[in-house]
Symmetry: C2
Subunit: 200 residues, 2 copies
């Protein structure tokens, strides 16, 4: 295509984003021709800012502009309960729903020997230190229920052994509103195994 160079550069940049193909990149780039000047400035600047200013929280590894993230520095949250998640997306999931009032610990991955990811590559050492120093009463492991997730959960359980802390993990079972016939056998088995008594 005979696009002017600047337009071509912008299209190419959009194409580097996940899930954005040629056609969408063109549509997005064209739409920017109609952006207001101040929106252009903000967009252009925030792209650079995000890369330059966003770093990881020194405590929980959440994204932050300061040394300590907004959640870790929030004194209104419960200080003695930690929700352990794989990445920032996991944290966001819970924050969006908003019912969890404790703090987080981001592992920055899951143990996966096949992919060369060992416990020392993850943010697990600091979890141990936090449990001791911050007098954590409960660690809720909220990672995905895959082999990597289960391995990681077992590893965390092991290193926290002997400490005065309750370790729990998310319940498995039938999702609310789910069509039972499309559920995988493992989930159904778990749901049966963890069944809750509802009679007196």
């Amino acid at each position: 295509m005979n696009y002017p160079n600047t337009l071509k550069n912008l299209i190419d940049s959009f194409k580097k984003l996940p899930g954005i193909g040629e056609k969408t990149a063109e549509r997005l780039a064209f739409s920017m021709l109609n952006f207001k000047d101040e929106d252009i400035d903000v967009f252009s600047k925030s792209i650079k800012d995000v890369k330059e200013k966003i770093k990881k929280c020194n405590i929980c590894s959440n994204l932050t502009e300061d040394d300590i993230c907004l959640i870790c520095s929030d004194n209104n949250r419960e200080n003695d309960i930690l929700c352990v998640v794989e990445d920032t997306k996991g944290l966001m999931l819970f924050e969006k729903i908003g019912f969890f009032k404790g703090k987080y610990h981001i592992l920055d991955g899951l143990i996966s020997p096949l992919n060369g990811i060992n416990p020392e590559d993850l943010n697990i050492d600091r979890l141990l230190k936090r449990v001791e120093q911050e007098k954590i009463k409960e660690v809720i492991i909220a990672v995905k229920p895959t082999i990597e997730g289960e391995t990681t959960a077992l590893y965390i359980l092991k290193i926290l052994e002997g400490l005065e802390v309750v370790v729990s993990k998310l319940a498995h079972g039938v999702p609310i509103g789910a069509d039972m016939e499309y559920l995988d056998p493992m989930t159904l088995e778990m749901a049966m195994f963890d069944r809750k008594k509802i009679s007196e």
Copy 2:
């Protein structure tokens, strides 16, 4: 959500793009944290550049960084045939397929009295001048087959009346590969009316 400000700004910027909602904006913004530094620079710069440097070609109104666009200044193209399109997207459609070797004229819209768009709001005057000055032999009207498109086509036909130029418009008919039963009656009627004899 407790996003750091810079991240929030980037998400908000992405949300201003067409078809990008909250979730996609978040996904795109997060993905940029893993961009290479040089990609970040190019992206940030091209957003500003596109708004600052891209303007309309003095001849055909195509997008360009110079006074004259790449197509108008291409001496290898046929100089006496013009394809009249509504906007740059229309031009791109033909350029992508690549069979049209003439030049273009972009109207920057279609006549639509209901929306207050009259012929003088469009790039039609210049079309008349071009046909005269550039000794155009054929003007192909390639606008969409709506009331606005047909009105615009009729208007162009009228103002070119009396000049030594053939005015044509795209054929209507059954699209290749189309499922006949989903075609609208108007298209079928047109296809029947413009039927082509295939026997000797």
